[in-house]
Amino acid sequence: MNSNLLFDFTVNKENKTIHITREFDAHLELVWAAWTTAELLDQWWGPKPWKAQTKTMDFREGGFWLYAMVGPEGEKHWSKCDYLSIENKRSITQKDCFCDENGTLNPAFSQSVWKNNFDQNGNKVRVDILITFDTLTDLEAIISMGFKEGMTIDFLQLDELLSATK
């Protein structure tokens, strides 16, 4: 179903940025809702087997989203996302950081700035995400903190499956 949808992932080590582009087969209203509504974000933001669980969300400039990534063993990694600027159904600029359950920033990790752009393109929506990190080590930390164990197992299985079907 999504094999014909554009997906581009570029890492620029010199600028410490990651640029992700993805098309979605839906109208802008729906895609925007999926990115800006807590109960919808909780359904897709956590990559399996992790699940995003919103504690509070205040989607407006100056507001923030406080959520946990919940692992298969129930372990939680808290994140906070500060909304710096919002252009309705066009763009969201946000600052992401790791924190505790009260939203107190974890100083061990520096923050990253995300600029998300939404464009209706025919009957598809193109989302551009530009993530800027202070250092690439922070990027590495994001993986080791949240997703690594669970995801790696999945990937190994996937790799096995792919090589078996080749």
């Binding site: 890492v11 992700i20 839906a26 990559p47 399996k48 999945d154 990937f155």
Partner: protein, 106 residues
């Protein structure tokens, strides 16, 4: 001193050194000939790359040759690929959700 792999590749001279010795093992002098910087500056870059375990030294007769640790370079790629896959998973989940939302709307 602990260094991380991304620090190693953050510098353009170090990336150029990696590209050079990816083709063949080279002595520090031969590497330095490719740059306008001093021999000392190149030595410093080689030391950092060694500390990151991206290159290793091999003694051949009286000369020391630097070679690239291909496996360590692969770590960078594998790690980036992992990050890409995380996003791929998330986006597939969003695709599914969007289909559900569309049906609900109808």
């Amino acid at each position: 001193m602990r260094r991380d792999i991304f620090q190693a590749i953050a510098d353009p001279t170090r990336r150029a050194i990696i590209a050079l010795i990816a083709l063949q093992a080279m002595t520090p002098n031969a590497i330095a000939e490719n740059f306008n910087t001093t021999r000392q500056a190149v030595s410093k870059h080689l030391r950092i790359l060694t500390e990151c375990a991206l290159v290793k030294q091999e003694q051949q007769g009286r000369e020391i040759y630097y070679t690239l640790e291909i496996e360590k370079m692969k770590e960078i790629d594998q790690w980036l690929e992992q990050f890409r896959k995380i996003w791929d998973t998330k986006f597939s989940q969003l695709d599914t959700l969007l289909v559900t939302l569309k049906k609900q709307k109808k």
